[in-house]
């Protein structure tokens, strides 16, 4: 009888430990978790965790990059409001929280672009040649309206063909727009690329039935995409580059755990989810030629091309820390180019790029700010 009690206790405490630890992405700091209450105590629950990528092989055989600090020359735009702002050397494009309109302001010109009846603006892009405004209706039933404005002449146009879908990912860069083409309830779900200067586009990659795509990106090297299937409870996600209707898996990316990718001259920068229960936290990598370099932790959804480099956000990594913007240079170096003020918990919204200018909005216990800086090109 004496032996049974310790066994039962050990089992109970082990179960408590397993359930307390099973969905954290990090081990306990103290290593002592028995006092944490949990209702996940049964062995069934403890073993019924959904499959995660935790423990799956990641490309760790390559080099890793340690960032050096080379802050850009940042200029304050004041405390951020609830609007979104992208700034270029000549223009500022602002979408207020209402999404009812976009305001384009230049040195001697100011224009308002309305979302249209029953619509709100969901994306707004700017480069040296064009502004692109995307508006959709609330329930994503009607085709998105995508308005292009040639800045030199102020000529407005509308993307009509291929006809935009009612929602889905939109990306813009280097004069190329990508967007999803589909009808609600329809079978086809395709990616269109559109040359804004020429006013012409074409439908390219189409997802097979029961698959989809998101996190589209455009850089000088081309279009990147995350494609996924309908595996439950978690989709298998693959990072690809897109050429016409063909996709190619980004070299070095592990199976099913990718989140976003951006093509570079000699490869790609991309992220994976080390823990499926924590989507916001990614591990970033760069594939260059045939090598993979680990760039460290970053925030998913922030990978952005600007000037000659890929940028991504690293939220504060300690209780008392700064959030940072990192640059992966054409020379395969990792640099910290922005840091939040003060110490504490902090994060950045995805940066916005326009004609060699980055706009960054930071949210920090020590104080929010919005800033812009020219980037190397």
């Amino acid at each position: 009888m004496r032996r049974r009690y310790p066994t039962a206790v050990a089992l109970a405490l082990t179960l408590a430990l397993v359930s307390a630890c099973s969905d954290d992405d990090e081990p306990s700091a103290s290593g002592s978790e028995t006092s944490a209450p949990t209702s996940d105590a049964s062995s069934t629950d403890a073993t019924s965790e959904a499959p995660t990528s935790e423990g799956q092989p990641e490309p760790t055989d390559g080099a890793s990059a340690e960032p050096t600090t080379k802050l850009l020359d940042w200029h304050s735009m004041g405390k951020p409001a609830r609007d979104t702002v992208v700034r270029s050397p000549e223009w500022t494009l602002t979408v207020p929280d209402s999404g009812a309109e976009a305001r384009l302001v230049g040195r001697d010109r100011e224009e308002t672009i309305p979302a249209g009846k029953g619509r709100r603006i969901t994306d707004a892009f700017l480069d040296g040649e064009h502004a692109v405004i995307v508006a959709q209706d609330q329930q994503e039933q009607r085709p998105q309206t995508i308005t292009t404005i040639e800045l030199a002449t102020y000529t407005r146009d509308q993307v009509r063909s291929p006809r935009p879908g009612p929602g889905g990912p939109v990306a813009y860069g280097e004069g190329t727009l990508t967007y999803a083409v589909y009808r609600p309830g329809g079978r086809d779900y395709c990616l269109a690329t559109y040359d804004v200067a020429d006013g012409r586009g074409e439908k390219g990659y189409c997802a097979p039935p029961r698959e989809g795509f998101s996190n589209a990106s455009v850089s000088p090297a081309g279009v990147g995409l995350m494609i996924f299937d309908d595996t439950r409870p978690i989709s298998c996600r693959t990072l690809v580059s897109v050429e016409g209707s063909t996709t190619t898996t980004v070299q070095g990316t592990p199976e099913c755990t990718g989140w976003e990718t951006l093509r570079t001259a000699d490869g790609a920068v991309w992220s994976v989810l080390p823990n499926e229960k924590r989507v916001e936290r990614g591990l970033f990598y760069a594939t260059h030629d045939d090598a993979v370099t680990a760039l460290g932790p970053g925030t998913n959804g922030t990978l952005t091309w600007c000037g000659d480099s890929a940028y991504f956000v690293r939220d504060s990594q300690k209780d008392k820390d700064k959030a940072r913007l990192l640059r992966w240079t054409p020379d395969d170096e990792l640099e910290v180019v922005y840091e939040t003020q003060g110490l504490g918990d902090a994060f950045l919204a995805p940066p916005a790029c326009a004609d060699g200018v980055l706009t960054v909005t930071s949210y920090a216990e020590a104080g929010d700010e919005r800033v812009w800086a020219r980037v190397p090109d």
Binding site: A36, G116, T122, Q136, A180, R278, G301, D345
Partner: protein
Amino acid sequence: MSRRRTIAIGSLALLLLGAPFLPDGDTPPALETGSAPGVSLADATAGAGTLTPAMRQEIDAVLAAGRTAARATAGARLRPAALVRSQVRCADFEGQRYCLNAGWTASTEDQVVTELARSATSESARSTYREETGDLTLTAQLRQRAALSPAARERADRAELTAAARSVAKVWLLRHQVQGVPLPDGFLARHPEIRTRTASGTTTAASTATSAASADAPRKSFADYPARGRVLRNSEVAEQTRTYWCGPTSMQMIGWGWSHQQHSQQYWAGKLGTTSEGTAISEMVKVTNRYTGWDRAAYAGKYVVLDIKDWSYRQWYVLQMRHTVDYRAPVILHPVLLKKWYPYLDDDASGHFQVGRGYSKNGDRPNLLRYFEPWNQQRFDRSEPYIDRRQLKSAYRAYRANREHFQHNIGV
């Protein structure tokens, strides 16, 4: 290890493991606290209190003002800001302020009305709102109540104010325990519904078990809580089956976590009075109190709608820890679903409900919040992959998402 000690540890472990599995009606389990041997107000919470004559008088006064406003605006189709001014009125219960359609707040009535009027005007200025996941907009909430007959509206207002008045002790306790606000003189004597947990495993009226000195005992701080905590079973999770059912789905998970019996989202939508416009947080709180046992004194006590505008991030996080460890009960999270807070979204969306279920201090790294995410856009289009319904998130991002909601409130 002695046999007696082994049995004691075993009993404690089994109690901890089995505690949340007790069906509604069973004796609440003991919760041993680090501050035992005695009792401490640091662990206390409150059930429903008694409606005092002063409270009745205050409720009558607020309702009388409502009647006056209703007569003045009878038959008129009010603009959103006027709708706010006609319906949002506040009551003072023992020094705490409760505002109809807003919850418990530290703001003045003027501040609440002004801010909500601005939100309502901004809402109506939008050509369309963001993608809706099921949180009732302010204008829709006010119009629903305005559509009632005067008598029905007054009954609804009275019921809301009465429920609020009876939960004032919970609000005082939270402000005391987390924000450090001193309790008023005679508070414990006036509120026998305040219960503390004893080392023997029972709950005791604080007025008899706690001396005046221990009422001022040190509050529990961040450091007093374990490294992590969690409530609700991983398997009792669901995704919303209609675009506007984040409320019923969150309620489904909260109810499921209590009874371990799953009711349909349709069932909870009926209880919540959910329409295609969504669900109000006041209904989420009301239904949690009425149809689950999470509101018992051995758990969270009566759930309230609490404005967190004056809560710092660190206080807000202690509140989450308190709910998990001391209350062992889920939180009704009420964020606005923007991509900048939630990277798994394809589009910015509306206000939203999620189920808060714990935290992780995450060592010396930034704090994390655990929650069930009912929204699964993949169900509705092909631009987002399926993600795990059980998410861990930067607590600071979650706090900012809560703060940015126009009501900046939470169900605790």
